[in-house]
Amino acid sequence: MADPEGPAAQIARQAAELQILQRVASEVNATLDLEEIYDIALATMGELFAAHHAVILLLEPDGQTLRVVASRGYENQAAGGRVRVGIGAVGIVAQKRRMLQLGNLGQQRAYASAQRRQMMKAGRDSEVGDVVPVPGLPNAESQIAIPLLIRDELVGVFSIESPVRQAFDAHDRSLVTIVANQIASAIRNAQLYDERRRAADALQAANASLEARVAERTAALQRELRIAEDLLQQARSRVDGPLLGESAAVRTLRDAVAHEAIYRWPLLLTGPPGSGKEAVAHALHLGSGRKGAFIFVSCPELQTQNRYVPGAPARAADRSLISKFELALGGTLFLDAVHELSIEHQGELRGILERHSGDVRVVASTPVDVRTIGWLAPLFNGRAIAVPALRQRREDIPVLVDHYVRKYGRQLGKQVEGVSPESLQRLEAYAWPGNIRELTAVLERAILVAKGPVIEIDEESLDNQLSVGSYRLISQLGSGGMGEVWLAKHRLLARPAAVKLIRKETPPGAAREQLVRRFQREAQVTARLRSPHTVQLYDFGVNDSGAFYYVMELLQGLDLQRIVNNFGPLLPERVITLLRQACRSLAEAHEHGLVHRDIKPANLFVGRLGTEYDYLKVLDFGIVKEQPGRGGHDAAGSTLLTSPDLVQGTPAFMAPELVFGEHPIDGRTDLYSLACAAYWALTGQLVFKASTPAQMLLHHAQTQPALPSAVSELPIPGDLETLLMQCLEKDPAKRPASALALDARLARIRSSDPWTQDRARGWWDAHAPDVVAQTTTS
């Protein structure tokens, strides 16, 4: 305000003002801190206009609101108050973007208010609006409000007020304008700096987030890559593992694979169990370049699918070899343990090879001497690759060990370097009756329990791998759906034996303990049987892996299933001889109140005992059922292998009462099954033909069987046929009363050419000389 003052005072005041303005310019341009800028601006107003009030309002991002960010001299003027653009002095200044100076605010407010009251009193309410509170000095008389502009862009409003009328003159307006311009520029710079800093922070956060996501994704991809590599490695090792090494034997094997891979003709792989025949088949498939799939078929399991399993869906297609063949079109069909194929499937295979030669490469494997399987060799025209036993390629053991240690170490998540030198020596010296399969089992277990990077394998762990009780397993004789049969030797007596391992998945607990007790009881009952035609049980138990095992006498020969499969139907007089032996075995069992319940050709083992040929032994007495009230043991309980979750029998040989329970089960149940086996031996055909187990069982219950002579190419004596048909009666009461009665009836059947020991020996010499050779595996 222009107070009367002398020229000297005026000059002094202007000089002071100039100093203040210079300092303001210097200070606000030296900082990018908004709060500091506000403080400088407000302090300057205090210096220039002592006792006056100043406020800084900034435009909100919505462009419609001003917000008080700093103030000076107000009692209740806290930062954060808001006013809309276009309302009040500061709102009008923001709207018009021009400075406004007012000098008589009190009078103007009073007049406007009076007018408002009068209009409302006169009923003109609709013409007036609401009173809007505006931040500021309530009793202000003078005000200078200046828009804060940067290149026509509104930043906010700077306002000073005074309760004195006409407090500000043109000079004051100029001073405020200079300060406002300075702070507008400083505020804008600070805002830009703040925006950039926020943007930089956001960018940095985004970068960090992006880096984290990239790192996470990279880690995920690396994990997926590792899994893919593992899978690839597993796939390769499945093929490459057993073929690794530089021994002469494996080089010859690889050469043979490379040579044979390009052809389409059927090929047989021979070699002991566990030697890697499946891997060789894979290698042949990969080497062939065929685009189709590699289809694995376990022939014993194909057989097992013929069995009746309660609750399991019976699908004819599952059992069909042709269905597997179709899956393998353009690829390879691998028939594992092909010697186990039934006659039905043999015919199917023969048809496939004749009609579809070249569509599918058929590769089959067997651990059995091909010469003992009459039907097999012609199908493959002598084309075979012999896969060597591991003991025939001992020099490959270090390479194989290294390969499998790395493989299982990776799979089991163990940091392993290899086996110790001493352990490697043991592995190289060991006989490996189980071949590469046994080697992999030994290494996997050793790595699993390893405490350091160097694997130790002692003698005991090698022995433990393949031993049950006092018996050491030498080599696998066969395998099927139920388990495996091993050639074994007593550790001390060195007596050869056959060990049957029965795999039954039962979790630990009361149920398993009960199962073990039942298994023990059944084995004890079976051990009481003394008939020379019943396979002798030496021992039984449960091994470390939880598998039940029976140790039985080692037999030389073939079961009736295989004999008929390989060499065709038997002469009637020979069948009579074999049936009589079976009757004597069953008679003793029935005498003890035991019913076998699973008499079938596969459980009638024929071979040599001492000097006798065609000596028959009934197998698998470990699964008998005691007759109620006769054995005195858990008469109503199910047997080990007939518990609800296991196979109850083989439908093709199952007596009606065994399935439907219309009649009590007794010895006559076994006689029905024995007659079914005899039917098979005489004709090479089952009593009934059916596409599903259920159909087969219905036939047994309802259908009259065809006479054996009607389906056999060989003549069958009438009295034998009559006797067999009597045994096949649906009603047990109409069958022979006992096994001894049946034996007596069989004995009365006269033959013009009886089956003698000479004829039996001649047959074995001609068909399977090696099987019944005197020297057994030691």
Partner: protein, 134 residues
């Protein structure tokens, strides 16, 4: 026509929002008195009167440019009496905007925006200035 200069001491009576009396006369000599809300200081020889809603006044001024206005300095308790002659009417420009902003600054906060609406700023040359105490 003579021209008078406005003294500095009249400034509190101008731009203060206090209504003042304005008298005009038609071509046939019929007088008309009305109240206007603002007499704005333009320079020391001119004032601007707000033209808000007085159709009779503007009609008279268009016919007879001579007018008379009385403004009050309430604090100084002095009436200032001005002989004026209409010079021009502005609906835009600095004078109009300054008057409009002053009116709107108050009107907007008191709910009177719809009433105190400046339609034009009429510029008058001051022919004579007199004063008398209340």
């Amino acid at each position: 026509m003579t021209e008078a200069r406005l003294p500095q001491e009249i400034r509190p009576a101008l731009d203060n929002g206090v209504p003042c009396l304005m008298v005009t006369c038609s071509a046939d000599g019929t007088p008309n008195a009305t109240v206007i809300s603002q007499v704005h200081y333009v320079d020391d020889t001119r004032v601007a009167l707000s033209f808000q809603f007085f159709s009779k006044t503007i009609k008279n001024v268009r016919e007879n440019p001579r007018a008379w206005a009385g403004v009050m300095d309430v604090v100084g308790q002095v009436d200032w009496l001005l002989d004026l002659e209409f010079e021009r009417s502005e609906t835009e420009g600095p004078i109009f905007d300054a008057m409009d902003m002053q009116i709107e600054a108050i009107a907007s906060a008191t709910g009177m925006s719809g009433v105190f609406k400046l339609r034009a700023a009429d510029i008058y040359r001051v022919l004579s200035v007199g004063k008398r105490p209340f």
